[in-house]
């Protein structure tokens, strides 16, 4: 694994943490005060900062640090996470996401926005505590750990030339006049209980200069009075080093709290030191090869006797302590098994709760899905040939086949479930969209999401974000009123947009509800008249008027606003939903708001289709496009112009489209009375009657991309393989309807991707 891969992992992790962050903040926003929620939020930012630091992503680190500081105030209870505070935090989460993206893909971030937020965050952090404490320190601040001595090789100790900033440039001079220090070091018992080790500290000290050492054993009591975990030894070291007092202190950095440490320049030390000191040559390099002192009591054997004394003394402390540990272990043993059993049970539960997941390349899943598709087809073919060849209908074969069929269906469902993912990430993105629009429009909006864990195929999720974003923009921009207006109408000044997802009869239904003013039908009607969509005297039901907003080029906003404008209307939304094999409908109550419901298939890999025959060819028409089917009667068919024909259905006229003619399956128009008409709803909301020769039945088919295997064919969305092994083409209804209007069949969005 190299740094690039770790970097990739970092950004994946960032995405997860950002989602975690947003979820947590939204929970807090809803009044959740669980400390674990606050902790999770804090950890998310903290992790991003930690990783970003490792990759020197300074902008990200700096912002995360300020954010973290403020979150820490919330965590410690110094700052109440009120709605206002959370508003700033949610915006900060957005900026953090932007910064992460910028760090990954290059590009820039709106600096004024992030700078303004940094100020707000700092203000929040400062609001409740003295400014000095909350002032964010520069994150890249030099770590407190002073440079530790570099490891030596196993051949033994050697002083390593090392320059400290203070000594920069003067190194030569300093080396020549390396001063001698006298260090007295008396560890306390705590030093050992924290895993520090006197012998190791002395070894490290020996690495920064030439030293001699004296071990004071005078305090060691007789064995019967010795506390096995006490500390009775102390050392006086004379060391000649160019690292200065600071360098010596850095050796004892981890131990400073748990020992008495005194460092003096030798001249002073000699002056007040009356005790004669015997310099002892000290070489701890032997320690290098020993894994652990305590485990190797014979270490002293290889060392000069004097050194051995010093080392052995240090060891005694460790050795004695371990003996004591063993003794106390026995005492604790009784409680230990119970405690550890409980701990294990807890751990196991927690591990289950955390969820066992693996990461799989999407390609592999797709390959599996394709294979399962083949399996389904193969199974269908097998059934068919068995039925054809076996007139006696041997029951055991038939039963076996039935079981096979059931199994393949189960495999198919399970494989589809692998690709299924909760809609949560998309819903979370919507939260951001709402915040941004609310900000720009000056409206106060609350987004409530429900059923975020509803699962749907990944491809559907990916394609859902765009239409949903657009609808949310519309809901906030056009649906909700300004706060003053809402107050006047007796409503909560804060508007509510509710986004829900649920499964209903094998499809996913996503509803977007706002509690705004509802559709202004007068305005919509007028606009439709102005745009020549309807005649001035058209008699339309409320529902029909509402549906006008799905017409191409329709926009009720008087001026194209910055938000919902962008040249796309609800017609585009409707088209993209339909391209996903979905339907969209609208319900609106004046003064109470509107609800948009979308019903989408759970997967794009299979499709519910109606199998039809056209000029001897078998075609599949997506079931979602079909409104109804009917057998035309001669009296209902009317000619119109040279070639056009209309069919009258319940007092309204609908253009008749001969599919065989459009696709060039035949040269002449078929006789409508001999066929079947499929009433379809197409792009723009208009209805057309598609003429086919016969309906064979309904069936779920596995979609095979034509583009991937052959090339794009106008009027055809994709292909599938039927039970008898024949290839059937899936009709691209919108393209066919478009062609009937005189447009030539052109490249259209296909069903298979």
């Amino acid at each position: 694994m190299d740094m690039n891969e770790i970097r990739e992992i970092f950004f994946q992790e960032c995405e997860e943490q950002l989602a975690e962050l947003e979820t947590g903040l939204l929970k807090l926003n809803d009044g959740d005060r669980d400390p674990e929620t606050v902790n999770a939020v804090f950890r998310a930012v903290h992790s991003i900062k930690g990783g970003a630091g490792a990759f020197a992503l300074d902008d990200l680190v700096a912002f995360a640090h300020v954010f973290e500081t403020t979150l820490d105030c919330v965590r410690s209870g110094k700052l109440e996470p009120s709605q206002d505070v959370l508003k700033v935090m949610l915006k900060s989460a957005d900026v953090l996401a932007d910064l992460t993206n910028a760090a990954r893909d290059g590009g820039t971030v709106d600096e004024s926005r992030s700078r303004a937020l940094v100020k707000e965050l700092e203000a929040l952090a400062n609001g409740e505590q003295p400014a000095a404490h909350a002032a964010p320190e520069p994150v890249a601040a030099k770590p407190a750990v002073a440079a530790a001595p570099a490891p030596t090789d196993s051949s033994g100790f050697q002083p390593i030339p090392f320059s400290f900033d203070d000594f920069g440039g003067e190194e030569e001079e300093v080396l020549m006049v390396a001063p001698t220090y006298t260090v007295t070091f008396k560890p306390r018992a705590e030093l050992f209980s924290k895993g520090n080790e006197a012998a190791l500290l002395l070894r490290d000290l020996s690495r920064i200069g030439e030293m001699s050492i004296h071990c004071h054993t005078g305090d060691v009591p007789t064995l019967d009075r010795m506390d096995p975990e006490g500390s009775y030894l102390s050392w006086t070291i004379s060391i000649k080093t160019e690292k200065g007092e600071e360098g010596i202190r850095s050796v004892f950095e981890f131990a400073e709290w748990d020992c008495e440490l005194d460092i003096k320049l030798a001249e002073e030390a000699e002056a007040d030191d009356e005790r004669p000191m015997i310099p002892v040559p000290f070489d701890l390099s032997l320690l290098e090869d020993e894994p652990a002192i305590g485990d190797e009591p014979h270490v002293g054997m290889h060392v000069e006797p004097v050194v051995a004394a010093a080392v052995a003394a240090a060891e005694t402390a460790t050795g004695v302590m371990q003996a004591a540990a063993a003794a106390s272990a026995r005492a604790e043993k009784k409680e230990a098994p119970a405690a550890s059993a409980a701990a294990q049970a807890n751990a196991a539960n927690a591990a289950n709760a955390a969820g066992q997941t693996i990461r799989v390349d999407l390609d592999r899943v797709d390959r599996l899905i394709n294979l399962v598709g083949e399996l389904v087809i193969n199974q269908a073919m097998l059934s068919q040939s068995v039925i054809e060849n076996d007139n006696n209908g041997t029951s055991s074969i038939n039963m076996g086949l039935e079981e096979l069929q059931q199994l393949t269906r189960e495999i198919q469902d399970s494989v589809m479930a692998i690709r299924a993912q909760p809609v949560k990430p998309v819903f979370q993105r919507m939260a951001r969209t709402v915040r941004e629009i609310a900000d720009i429009t000056g409206k106060s909006v609350r987004l409530i999401t429900e059923g975020e864990n509803t699962e749907v195929d990944k491809t559907v999720i990916d394609k859902l974000a765009e239409p949903l974003t657009h609808m949310i923009r519309n809901a906030v921009d056009h649906g909700l009123e300004m706060p003053e207006k809402r107050i006047a109408a007796g409503k909560n000044p804060e508007g509510t947009v509710r986004l829900t997802a649920k499964h209903r009869s094998g499809r996913i239904v996503i509803e977007l509800t706002d509690d705004g003013a509802g559709i202004n039908r007068e305005k919509v009607r007028q606009k439709a008249i102005d745009n020549d969509l309807i005649t001035a005297d058209a008699n339309l039901s409320d529902e029909e008027i509402d549906n006008l907003i799905f017409h191409a080029g329709f926009s009720t906003a008087d001026k194209v606003s910055d938000l919902s404008g962008r040249g796309v209307g609800m017609d585009v939304v409707k088209r993209s939903i339909q391209a996903l094999g979905g339907r969209i409908s609208i319900q609106s109550k004046p003064g109470q708001g509107s609800t948009f419901s979308m019903s989408l298939p759970l997967t794009l890999a299979v499709l519910d289709g109606m199998v039809v025959t056209v000029a001897g060819q078998t075609l599949v028409v997506p079931l979602t496009a079909i409104v109804e089917t009917l057998q035309p009667e001669a009296a209902a068919i009317h000619s119109f112009g040279a070639t056009q024909r209309l069919i009258s259905i319940r007092n309204s006229f609908c253009p008749l489209v001969d599919v065989g003619r459009i696709l060039n399956f035949r040269a002449q128009q078929a006789n409508p009375v001999e066929g079947v008409a499929l009433l379809v709803e197409s792009e723009g909301g208009g209805q057309r009657a598609l003429m086919v020769d016969a309906i064979q039945g309904q069936r779920q088919v596995v979609i095979k991309s034509l583009e991937a295997n052959y090339m794009h064919v106008p009027g055809i969305a994709a292909a599938t393989i039927l039970g008898d092994g024949r290839v059937a083409l899936i009709l691209d209804v919108d393209a066919v309807v478009g062609a009937s209007r005189g447009q030539s069949l052109r490249q259209e969005m296909s069903l298979a991707s």
Binding site: A54, V145, A292
Partner: protein, 121 residues
């Protein structure tokens, strides 16, 4: 003999960086994702030194260190705290819990290895 290091960190990024750094430096590395798992793994892997993060779900670094120090077999094992917190308060809490030393993130591979060498024989 290779020294065995147990690392405890919830961040996948940091875990991977630790793994690469420590393996390159010739250590045997065992990894856990949080304090609870750390304590679980501890028994099996018998490490020479532990490197742990502070902010973790389920059981944070402080709790983890206390747990290790309560374990009769490991109460004298060196524990290095790996954290972005550079302020004295957190360092102190870690020390009180029984940490041997600390490394401030973003860690520099040399410093990490040095710190481990410092607290192990």
């Amino acid at each position: 003999m290779k020294k065995k290091v147990l690392t405890v960190d919830d961040s996948r990024t940091i875990r991977n960086m630790l793994l690469v750094t420590l393996n390159n430096a010739g250590f045997e590395t065992i990894q856990a994702e949080d304090g609870v798992e750390g304590l679980e793994v501890l028994e099996e892997c018998n490490p020479d030194v532990i490197v742990t993060d502070i902010n973790m779900p389920r059981l944070d670094g402080f709790g983890f260190i206390e747990g290790v120090r309560r374990n009769e077999k490991y109460r004298a094992i060196p524990i290095l705290v790996l954290t972005t917190e550079s302020d004295a308060e957190k360092k102190n809490r870690a020390r009180q819990a029984g940490a041997t030393g600390w490394i401030v993130k973003p860690f520099d591979p040399t410093k990490l290895v040095d710190a481990i060498e410092r607290v192990t024989a």
